[in-house]
């Protein structure tokens, strides 16, 4: 039986566990990320999302429990780099993660570290820049890019490692609406190419794209399921998370007695459903 891409088994993590007062960030979290899947992890600030993300590729090692990437224990030092290459991680603020002064060098950094031979390196780089729409900017200084371009560069610098999974840790939080949309579309395209996606966010409208959603609360998994199951879950309101606007409108209309289907989670679906409904009536 093939291993799941990422298997998290009753993972707990505490910061400062050697010190006098450790802070427990994760408590008994279990989840699976399959190859080519699209997973969203949501939760409010301080719910342990980022800690979980860093555990997925061994940047943090579990205090208790097990994280296995393609069957490799992240605690095993022999697999350290294999794990990190397989599960690529994009952080929130790209400005603070750039090491190089040109787009091309920045993007190539991961592959250089893996010792990819140069001809292969060049083709990977070309591919990654093309995928992220940065080919024309390869000589530019990253600090002169727009916020959206910086975020895409951060993704490109992961793609050169040819990962099987992309973890985006609140990468959209600092972006203006249009840039955010572009980034999510890029992520969708990468998902279509077969990359597994783990999107970490507290924006409910973004989780609608996922196949599977996990809600974290105080370091524990509170709800797991499809976006539809999660958004309609009665416990959601108690976790300090808002429904996306379209779902709010839909929920209100449903309460007033409008016969809307359950799968109207984003604006386009809601509009279509309402127009269908209107047509059926007249």
């Amino acid at each position: 039986m093939p291993h799941p891409l990422i298997a998290v088994n009753s993972l707990s993590f505490s910061y400062g566990q050697d010190g006098p007062n450790p802070i427990q960030a994760l408590n008994g979290v279990s989840l699976l990320v399959e190859r080519g899947s699209y997973t969203a992890i949501i939760g409010h600030n301080g719910s342990g999302k980022s800690t979980l993300a860093k555990c997925l590729n061994g940047l943090l090692l579990p205090s208790d429990g097990l994280v296995a990437v393609d069957g490799m224990d992240t605690c095993d030092p022999d697999h350290r780099y294999a794990v990190r290459a397989l599960v690529g991680m994009v952080f929130q603020n790209p400005d603070n993660q750039f090491v190089a002064t040109t787009v091309a060098e920045e993007a190539a950094f991961g592959a250089e570290n893996l010792g990819v031979p140069r001809p292969e390196l060049l083709s990977r780089l070309e591919q990654a820049l093309a995928d992220t729409g940065l080919s024309d900017l390869s000589e530019r200084n990253p600090s002169t890019l727009s916020a959206g371009q910086k975020a895409r560069l951060a993704i490109a610098s992961i793609l050169v490692m040819r990962p099987a999974c992309l973890v985006l840790d609140e990468s959209t939080a600092l972006l203006a609406p249009r840039a955010r949309l572009e980034l999510l579309e890029l992520v969708d395209r990468l998902h279509d190419q077969g990359l597994a996606i783990v999107l970490i966010t507290h924006q409910m409208e973004e989780v609608v794209r996922a196949e599977r959603v996990h809600v974290l609360d105080e370091g524990r998994l509170a709800i797991s399921g499809t976006p539809q199951e999660v958004l309609l879950h009665p416990a959601l309101a108690g976790l300090g998370l808002d429904l996306p606007p379209a779902a709010q409108v839909a929920a209100g209309l449903r309460q007033r007695g409008l016969n809307l289907p359950d799968d109207t989670l984003d604006s386009a679906e809601l509009v279509r459903a309402l127009l269908d409904l209107d047509e059926a009536r007249s």
Partner: protein, 236 residues
């Protein structure tokens, strides 16, 4: 027991790079050079990254950052004094080393050891001041008063603070004084300063610089490492 962070070496390299950047920023833009009307031209805070590097990342990083400070002050020098690499660069290499060594020696020390050490320091400095007083009376008196003041201050503080913080402060002050003493010694040996000038500069720069260094280093380290200060919380 969690395994040791295998990537500690990367952190050390990157931190060294950033401290070096701050040093160069402070020296090359002259922001870290505060003009004062003494023969040395300016007081400095640009040596603080070297001290921090030594204390937090070890002697090697302290050495590298100190080299950067020396280079920056050498190239930016307008006085013949600092155009001499033996004065501008060589002593600066030792700033981080001395801080690192002092810190390594003291960080495990308890309150009593520290008290004794401060006492010994007090006696040494007083003896020194007496020597100075033999040649230039007023300088000797000023030095003695300053020494007593600083040591009494340290002892009072020691009663209130954790030994770890005191060790930090002493290491930082030692690093800063290394800079003052060695630069002035070199300047005197190489004939730029007379002994009396050196003493004046040493007292007017060295002590304020040492105090500022200790304050800054304690503030930064306790913020970054979040290590204990007796003051467990806000005054609210």
């Amino acid at each position: 027991m969690a395994p040791r962070d295998p990537d500690a070496g990367i952190r050390r390299t990157i931190t060294a790079g950033l401290l070096l950047a701050i040093t160069l920023l402070l020296t090359l833009t002259r922001i870290g050079m505060i003009p004062v009307p003494t023969p040395a031209g300016n007081a400095t805070i640009a040596h603080i990254p070297a001290i921090l590097g030594g204390i937090m990342e070890g002697p090697l990083v302290g050495l590298i950052v100190g080299l950067g400070f020396g280079f920056g002050s050498f190239m930016g020098a307008t006085l013949p004094l600092f155009k001499d690499p033996l004065v501008a660069v060589a002593p600066r290499l030792l700033i981080g080393l001395v801080s690192a060594w002092v810190y390594i020696a003291l960080r495990k020390a308890n309150r009593r050891t520290l008290t004794i050490m401060i006492g010994v320091l007090l006696l040494l400095l007083l003896a020194f001041s007496y020597q100075v007083g033999m040649t230039t009376l007023w300088l000797g008196i000023v030095a003695a008063v300053a020494t007593v003041g600083v040591c009494v201050g340290l002892l009072i503080w020691l009663g209130k603070e954790e030994p770890g913080i005191i060790a930090l402060a002493i290491a930082a002050a030692a690093g800063s004084l290394t800079n003052t003493v060695l630069v002035l010694a070199m300047a005197t040996i190489r004939g730029y300063f007379s002994a009396e000038m050196a003493w004046t500069v040493g007292l007017t720069h060295g002590i304020p610089e040492a105090i500022v260094s200790a304050v800054v280093v304690v503030a930064v380290v306790s913020a970054v490492r979040q290590i204990g200060s007796r003051q467990r919380g806000s005054s609210i």
